[in-house]
């Protein structure tokens, strides 16, 4: 089979979306603007979830109670990302992590930064599973998850 028959057509699909946040998530982002990290507590199982949900996924009941959680927490797991792909929002290298803030019963996804990311071996010495991190806020708040700019390792 000649090379010519392996014809490839290049294309791009662009689709625009406008997504509703709903009351709970809108409120969460409003609190971020005030540099507060808020979770919601389930009336039945008492778990505090960050980010907040409008209902508890296990009890399936509405969650009404807002609870402020600490801006410090523990790195449950992390990964050094140095792999590019189309449309990536963050610039590589970056550290994607699961962070459990004090007072929350779940981990949530964010990034660890504020350290020299260029040398991976140095990164491994600073970022540890079970290590403590603290939120650092963006000066300009846009109403998205990067209003928390990143979590920085605490000495």
């Amino acid at each position: 089979m000649s090379k010519e028959e392996y014809r490839i057509v290049k294309g791009q699909v662009m689709v625009p979306y406008e997504l509703a946040l709903g009351r709970t998530w809108s409120t969460f982002y409003d609190y971020l603007k005030e540099e507060k990290i808020m979770g919601k507590k389930c009336g039945k199982c008492s778990r505090v979830l960050v980010p907040p949900r409008s209902f508890c996924p296990r009890c399936f009941e509405d969650m009404e109670e807002w609870v402020e959680v600490s801006q410090e927490g523990v790195v449950e797991t992390w990964v050094y990302v140095n792999m590019p792909f189309f449309g990536q929002e963050l610039k590589i290298p970056f550290i994607s992590a699961q962070i459990r803030l004090d007072g929350s019963d779940t981990g949530f996804t964010h990034q660890v930064a504020g350290i020299d990311l260029s040398d991976f071996d140095k990164v491994r010495e600073t970022v540890k599973l079970g290590g403590r991190v603290k939120a650092v806020w963006s000066k300009e708040k846009k109403g998205n998850i990067l209003d928390i700019a990143y979590f920085e390792p605490v000495k």
Partner: protein, 388 residues
């Protein structure tokens, strides 16, 4: 269990980079082989189930519409089932339920993917919600690496031991793929090469991860009466299980992974299996990442929690070991995502019907197949056996 259901034929494409074919023709390649294997024609098919990754992968939404001709579904009822990585198993479950309900005698199940046509990692970021998680997406490598790190940390597995065991898994799977004419990656690797390969998401390296493949697989399910009439050596569905977890990562503990553990338990219960390590002859596990494969061994009860590296280093899961895992080379050597879970089932079927040629595990009678979907969210298991 409902009525007994058999698998009477399977078909796979030669997986890899298939730029020689447009996507529908790739699907048809697998369907033709399955029909021939079963000794039937399209006329005998009562219904068709299709599964692929979400439409962003190849940019044509509703693949069950796109492949209508290619899967011979003109004039027939069609169902599409999509559960990301576990799609291949979910479509099998759907085919099983359709026949088990008594509403169809023969059902064609088809899974496919053409990874070369899109940017897989970019498309997969759309699985994450755009409000909280998508920004930090590091694709599949990111999620699986985070999970593996959490597991090693929780069970205090020293990094060197984890690295050694993961390298052993890479070597075994690559060796196994050399006996599989359908596999995408067919090359032997050494422990040293695996440990020194390019870093993807530390500690995961290039030879610890699956390729992005083009490929399709078709499996034909039949009722007991039909199977007994037309198939000399059917494989029988002995048990299946499926469990899902929350969407938000960070809520469930992925190092002990409830969905994987319970899906397997459910399948074992239906199949009457109490000691999987002893009773199973082959396990075709969804293993795109070497480190993560060890988490599955523990969830499926092949070894105690935290002990998988030791069992791997002993050779328990190699082709000559107590429970050969992925004699086909597994997902690690071939990964057309929508087809992958179904390929695991097809390989399990080939094993228990003595049709696995060079990769046959001798005397195999009971085999487990499995796939995982989403951001470590779904797990599906199907167990097949040679006896009704």
């Amino acid at each position: 269990m409902a009525k007994a259901v058999a698998i009477i034929g399977t078909g796979q494409t030669k997986h890899g980079r298939r730029s020689d074919l447009c996507y529908p023709d790739l699907v048809r390649e697998a369907v033709m082989i399955a029909l021939e294997d079963a000794g039937i024609t399209l006329k005998d098919i009562d219904g068709v189930v299709l599964g692929t990754m979400p439409s962003m992968m190849e940019g044509v939404s509703s693949t069950h519409f796109y492949f209508a001709e290619a899967m011979g579904s003109f004039g027939k009822p069609v169902m599409k089932v999509e559960t990301c990585g576990s799609t291949g198993q979910s479509i099998g479950h759907c085919g099983f339920y359709w026949v088990a309900s008594g509403m169809a005698d023969i059902v064609l199940v088809v899974g496919s993917e053409k990874m070369s046509e899109g940017d897989g990692q970019a498309a997969m970021t759309t699985v994450f919600d755009p409000f909280f998680q998508r920004t930090f997406s590091a694709g599949a490598p990111g999620v699986f690496t985070m999970q593996s790190m959490e597991w090693m940390y929780r069970f205090k597995i020293p990094e060197e031991k984890g690295r050694e065991a993961a390298a052993q898994i890479s070597v075994s799977n690559h060796d196994n793929a050399m006996d599989n004419p359908y596999a995408h990656i067919r090359m032997r690797v050494t422990m040293d090469e695996v440990k020194k390969a390019r870093i993807i998401t530390y500690p995961v390296r290039l030879l610890d991860v699956c390729p992005a493949s083009d490929g399709a697989c078709a499996v034909i399910f039949a009722s007991q009466e039909k199977a007994k009439k037309i198939c000399k050596k059917p494989a029988w569905i002995k048990g299946l299980g499926f469990r899902g977890e929350e969407f938000f990562y960070g809520e469930s503990d992925k190092s002990i992974w409830m969905s994987a553990t319970e899906a397997a338990k459910e399948a074992y219960k239906q199949a009457g299996i109490r000691n999987p390590l002893k009773e199973l002859d082959v396990a075709e596990i969804y293993n795109p990442f070497t480190y993560q494969e060890m988490v599955f061994y523990e969830c499926f009860g092949f070894c105690p929690r935290g002990e998988a590296p030791n069992y791997v280093l002993k050779g328990t899961f190699t082709k000559g070991g107590e429970l050969p895992c992925c004699p086909s080379g597994g997902t690690l050597c071939t990964n057309p995502i929508g087809a992958t879970g179904l390929i695991r089932l097809a390989e399990a079927v080939l094993q228990v019907t003595d049709k696995a040629a060079e990769r046959q595990v001798h005397g195999a009678k009971l085999a487990l197949s499995h796939a995982m979907g989403g951001i470590d969210q779904f797990n599906a298991v199907t167990i097949v056996g040679s006896k009704l």
